[in-house]
Amino acid sequence: MRQKLKLNYFMEHIVIIGNGIAGVTAARHIRKLSNKPISIISSETDYFFSRTALMYVYMGHMKFEHTQPYENWFWEKNNLALVNGFVKTIDTNTKTLYFKDGQSLSYDKLIIATGSKPNKYGWPGQDLKGVMGMYHKQDLEQLETYAPNNLVCKRAVIVGGGLIGIELAEMLNSRNIPVTFLVRESSFWNGVLPNAESEMINRHIKNHHIDLRLSSNLKEIISDKNGQVKSIIIEETGEEIPCNVVGLTAGVSPNINFIKSSNIETNKGVLVNKYLETNIPDVYAIGDCAEQRKAIGLRRPVEAVWYTGRMMGETLAQTICGHKTPYNPGHWFNSAKFFDIEYQTYGWVFAKPKENHAHFHWKHKDDTKCITIEYHTISNEFIGINNFGIRMRHEVFNTWLNEKRTMDYVINHLSDANFDPEFYKHYEQDILKAYSNQLQIQTIS
């Protein structure tokens, strides 16, 4: 599909590769600020959709069209040309993109926003039929083919205990497909979550009848005679688990293979400075595929998160439209949902407290709600919070972090941050009591 673009030859042509949240946010903001012609290229789908919502399509909560935040007329109305094509190579000298089908497109400014691809670590059998990641729309279609129900797919094995892995487990579980979940770490996502939280999630996963295998790695995937998955073997125990589908969810990495042959400098991702500029003038990279030459604060150089993709899009639009702006995100925040337990985080909470930091942890007896706050033991400064099963206000924590509030202040004002629906039971008093008890214990000992 090629849409006609109302071209104004006096204006520079902005071409965006990738129609995910980063690319589309950049396009929308450039359109708000200017009339520059904009083309958005994708080979995945014709229209922008919310990647994080793909799981709900498989679970039957939504149809695919519900994941599209804008109606189809939106793009033409805003003079955003959508190009369905796969970019094979970039010639930065002539400012031309070459497509797989032989066509080409020239640009004045290029934004690379191609997102990620699932990691494959060279496991034997990783390219068999029935082995898939869960990232692209095509992965969803694969899953629909190989795991339509529990008659066709008698068991699925998921490899990799991160956010996508647990979502895939929830998806398969919704169709009553038995799931074995291989997690390399000794507890789910404990590289990020403090132990108590990670262990609560372990129990929650098991409550949903998922066969959770901690400290377990994949050794190999065994094929049947048709080149389809038959079983997998666990590295540690040598146990063979028969299955029809294998989900590879051991993280993602920048989707930049097609750039390697160009002059654009890459490492893990496309290398950019704080203005999101690559080494080549007029070429930018944003979202999952961008790698900061110098990490910003405590953030990782590559951040494959919806929110950061959006923020980079917002920022780059300013630069492209003449207000050169560095990418300087505010306080870290994120969210996820682990089966029925919602998770939000504001500021930094590390799996193990940093030096001179401590954790305060409170957990409700029903084992589905807890919070962990990281704070500075000397200055009492509030560093960050993880909240599970209780919703908290982004704005309030953002303000508290700006104002460098103390732990005591935060714990005494927690109810200001509560964002649970009306009539929900509040736990601030419980939390305060637990905090006071902990302080007393510390003073005594």
């Binding site: 994080t52 169709r175 920022t315 702006t325 969210s335 089966f339 029925d340 939000q344 704005e395 929900y424």
Partner: protein, 532 residues
């Protein structure tokens, strides 16, 4: 683009879940209960009507309770939308269409050919389905059943049993539970039992009370100011007068205050009977409402047209009811018309003066509506006689409203089309009461749905499950509060949000409508730059 992964007609059932034995048993009970109705419709001579009525209502209740228990209590608390778009009933599949057709046919028979249900004429005893309900009606009001009694009983039963189901489905969510308990209470007490007891009072010659659901306000109960209704109330002593006064006060005092404090949800999803049915029996269809911009445009035209129609119709009814001689009764035709005109002008002027900005482009349409009503008042004055206005009988205006709006729109389309157009078709496109409350909610209310900073991931669950067809995500992904006249505050968007982004709140009027180009979480300097 091939995105049709759903509504499979293939043998490989995508749900992978067939009904459990317990669910099958539950469905058998329910169907047996309905089968007794069918027997009654075909005039089977059932020996003990009371026993059969109790068994059928009991079986339906038991079936729904058992089914709900098995569907929800066997699973952990949480959002239960798995397979909604795979199930035929909830995704406009064959079952959905069949249900829609049965419901629509039922409404047509109910409104237009009740004799098919066994309604007697000329003092003869009822037959068929209506006769089956005689024992209950006699117990409550002392009278034999009518088609409206049968309908009222089934309506109330549906709200009670599906309300139970809804409460289990949302057993992790106290807002949903309380709201549902509230609509169940108001339906059973105010809409069903109290009117029946009132009609028992009518056995005394001192009372001639019309059917009056105290919670149902004008213009939803458009018949409040019909002459039979006013005559009935006025001839029923101080109780009747009190009820008439209560009716007027609820429109002009109670409702504006509550809507100011809590938004229209205090009525639409906590009290109203139409809302009650939509939220309980209709819950399985909420995802079918259209979220297109074009549907929103249609909605605004339709609902406000109905409002204008209902205002003119009611004014005409009262006008023809009143006399011309002020010595007989202080309120004469011309005083009445003048006061309606003055009241509307006052409302219009105040809104234009203080709320012009919030109204935006809609101000023009508000003005159209206002001028049409004022013009109608003038025409009424010059063409009006004691029973004619606009050169036609006032009563025919009233019957037209009753037929097209009261019966066809609210009943046949509004409820009959649940499985096709979603469960709030009437509330969204037709209800004049919703239009008035919505107008207040948009302009003078503390209510809004707050979005949580930058946390939205644009997944679309909120928009999909909004029964009013509001594209909630469009606001949430901009970090903008949702202040929409149509929002009935059901709270489901907030419930289904996987990232804790939405919260129904009553707050201050300032900054209620906010708009952010750059979401919270990005560079503070950038946010400030965009704001300035």
């Amino acid at each position: 683009m091939n995105s049709q992964t759903n509504q499979s007609m293939s043998l490989a059932n995508p749900e992978g879940t067939n009904l459990s034995i317990k669910q099958k048993t539950a469905i058998t009970f329910g169907v047996l209960g309905l089968f007794i109705f069918l027997l009654a419709i075909f005039n089977t001579n059932l020996p003990n009507k009371a026993l059969f009525l109790i068994s059928s209502l009991g079986l339906i209740t038991l079936g729904t309770i058992l089914y709900s228990n098995n569907a929800y209590l066997t699973k952990p608390k949480g959002i239960k939308n798995d397979g909604v778009f795979f199930k035929s009933i909830s995704s406009r599949g064959t079952l959905g269409w069949i249900t829609g057709i049965i419901l629509t046919s039922f409404y047509i028979v109910l409104y237009f050919i009740p004799q098919y249900l066994g309604l007697a004429s000329n003092g003869l005893p009822n037959t068929g389905l209506i006769a089956l309900f005689d024992p209950l009606s006699k117990l409550l009001s002392g009278n034999p059943a009518s088609q409206w009694f049968v309908y009222g009983t089934l309506y109330t039963l549906a709200i009670l049993v599906f309300g139970y189901k809804f409460m289990l489905k949302y057993r992790h969510n106290r807002y949903e539970q309380l709201r549902t308990a509230s609509v169940m209470f108001f339906q059973l007490g105010f809409a069903f039992l109290i009117p029946e007891f009132m009609s028992r009072l009518n056995q005394s010659p001192n009372y001639n009370l019309p059917y009056y659901d105290l919670k149902s306000m004008w213009p939803l109960n458009y018949y409040l100011f019909d002459s039979w209704s006013i005559n009935g109330l006025l001839s029923s002593g101080s109780l009747g007068l009190l009820m008439l006064v209560f009716g007027v006060i609820s429109i002009f005092v109670v409702s504006p205050i509550l809507t100011y404090k809590y938004g229209k949800r205090w009525y639409c999803s906590w009290v109203c009977g139409c809302g009650a049915l939509a939220e309980t029996a209709g819950d399985s269809f909420r995802q079918l409402s259209s979220k297109k911009l074009s549907a929103w445009k249609l909605e605004r035209w339709l609902i406000h047209t109905v409002l204008v129609f209902s205002v003119i119709m009611t004014t005409a009814m009262i006008y023809t009811y009143l006399g011309k001689d002020s010595s007989k009764f202080w309120l004469t035709q011309s005083t009445f018309l003048t006061s309606v005109g003055v009241f509307l002008t006052l409302v219009f002027a105040l809104v234009m003066l203080f709320k012009r900005k919030e109204l935006g482009k809609d101000a023009r349409y508000g003005a159209y509506g206002y001028f049409i009503v004022i013009a109608a008042l003038f025409i009424m004055h010059y063409t009006g006689t004691t029973d004619e206005i606009f050169l036609i009988k006032a009563s025919s205006l009233r019957s037209a409203y009753g037929l097209y709006i009261g019966s066809i729109f609210s009943g046949v389309i509004g409820t009959g089309f649940y499985p096709i157009l979603g469960n709030r078709v009437w509330c969204r496109f037709g209800c004049p009461m919703a239009a008035i409350l919505g107008f207040q909610q948009r302009l003078f209310s503390k209510f809004r749905i707050t979005t949580n900073g930058g946390q939205c991931i644009s997944c679309g669950n909120c928009s999909t499950y909004c029964e009013m067809g509001i594209d909630v995500r469009a606001y949430a992904q901009k970090g903008e509060n949702i202040v929409r006249s149509s929002c009935v505050g059901c709270g489901v968007c907030s419930a289904v949000c996987p990232r804790g982004v939405l919260k129904l709140e009553n707050g201050t009027l300032e900054d209620r409508i906010n708009s952010n180009d750059i979401l919270l979480g990005n560079d503070i300097n950038l946010i400030d730059l965009i704001k300035s």
